[in-house]
């Protein structure tokens, strides 16, 4: 451990993108990073071994929630003050890391989310994706009284307090929106800052049409129940 900031990179079957993502991070000497290999069935584990990339390999697939939580538990055990989530598929731009960290420190919030829509950026998503994002924005305003323009963004940094929480309790699937609702309702501060996002380097989005309907219902239901009760 050379830093007090840990970058958590969950990876499931990311053999095409993982090297590129990690290489980009190598220029950020002052942050630690760890790849959580979520029981990948392709060459991801092999690549991580071969290139001596710091990683934790889950023996079976836990899904995004379980994988990310492994990272938070690792951060908690090793005494990190901040943890950043970064997607392995190259969508998140490492150039924004410094910006996220410095904003996090100066604003002194509990969670800072990298947003594609906070200011105008080059991001162009599909219509259905934009609709989903708008819907969750409205949902969060309604139940948690926060205005998050990009609630599904996985690019986020949290402080020690939230690391402790996530190490204990983190949703199994589609965790992004739900945790914002929970944190905000419990009085934690959640804010946003602008980031650029790239098109995917490889792999496929985990969200298909049918799944996105389940996603909206599931998140709405759980955000409501778990935030109020």
């Amino acid at each position: 451990m050379k830093s007090n900031i840990l970058i958590i990179i969950p990876a499931f079957n990311e053999e095409q993108a993982i090297i590129h993502t990690v290489n980009q991070l190598k220029t950020f000497d002052d942050y630690d990073y760890i790849v959580i290999n979520d029981g990948s069935t392709d060459q991801t584990a092999h690549i991580l071994q071969q290139h001596h990339i710091p990683h934790i390999s889950l023996p079976v697939n836990l899904g995004i929630g379980g994988a990310v939580q492994t990272g938070y538990r690792y951060a908690q055990r090793n005494g990190y003050d901040y943890a950043i989530q970064l997607d392995a598929d190259g969508q998140h731009n490492p150039d924004d890391l410094y910006h996220l960290v410095s904003e996090m420190k100066s604003r002194n919030v509990d969670m800072l989310i990298g947003s594609r829509f906070f200011e105008k950026t080059n991001y162009k998503g599909s219509l259905s994706r934009r609709f989903g994002i708008l819907y969750f924005n409205y949902l969060l305003r309604l139940i948690a009284r926060v205005n998050i323009t990009d609630p599904t963004s996985g690019y986020r940094i949290v402080n020690r307090r939230v690391i402790e929480w996530f190490a204990q309790d983190y949703p199994v699937d589609y965790p992004e929106v739900e945790v914002i609702a929970k944190l905000a309702r419990k009085g934690y501060t959640v804010e946003e800052t602008k980031v650029e996002m790239n098109a995917r380097q490889g792999g496929e989005s985990s969200i298909t049409a049918l799944k996105s309907i389940y996603y909206m219902f599931k998140v709405t239901f759980f955000a409501l129940i778990r935030s109020y009760l």
Binding site: H55, I56, S57, L58, P59, V60, L62, G66, Q69, T70, R73, Y74, R77, V172
Partner: protein, 119 residues
């Protein structure tokens, strides 16, 4: 004793024997073995007491006994189901923690091996 009661008693008793058998072979852990033994005992007793159940149904104003039995059975099964789903969720949670712990240990072992190789 009419035919139907005889059949019901045989069925209830077979179920009871089945549960005893599973328990003796350690296929049910103590807690669940006890639960099912209780259920199957109640089943046998109810089969024996079938005529009295009819009277009881008349007495509380249920015109058709089977509907009362179905209602009760349905409620019992529903309660059991939610209880089992709850257990399943707890197991899932525990298994998740275990998997994470195994992964942490694996990492530590690998790092130690590397250090040993270097020294």
């Amino acid at each position: 004793m009419d035919h139907i009661q005889f059949i019901v008693i045989i069925a209830a008793f077979s179920f009871f024997i089945h549960v005893v058998f599973l328990t003796s072979k350690n296929k049910l852990t103590d807690k669940y073995a006890f639960m099912w033994l209780s259920f199957s005992t109640i089943g046998v007793l109810m089969a024996i007491a079938l005529p009295f159940l009819n009277q009881f149904a008349n007495w509380i104003g249920v015109a058709y006994l089977p509907s009362l039995i179905f209602l009760l059975a349905f409620l019992v099964v529903l309660t059991l189901l939610i209880y089992h789903t709850q257990l399943l969720s707890r197991q899932e949670q525990r298994i998740k923690t275990l998997i994470q712990e195994v992964a942490f240990l694996q990492k530590e072992v690998q790092e130690q091996r590397k250090e040993e190789d270097h020294s």
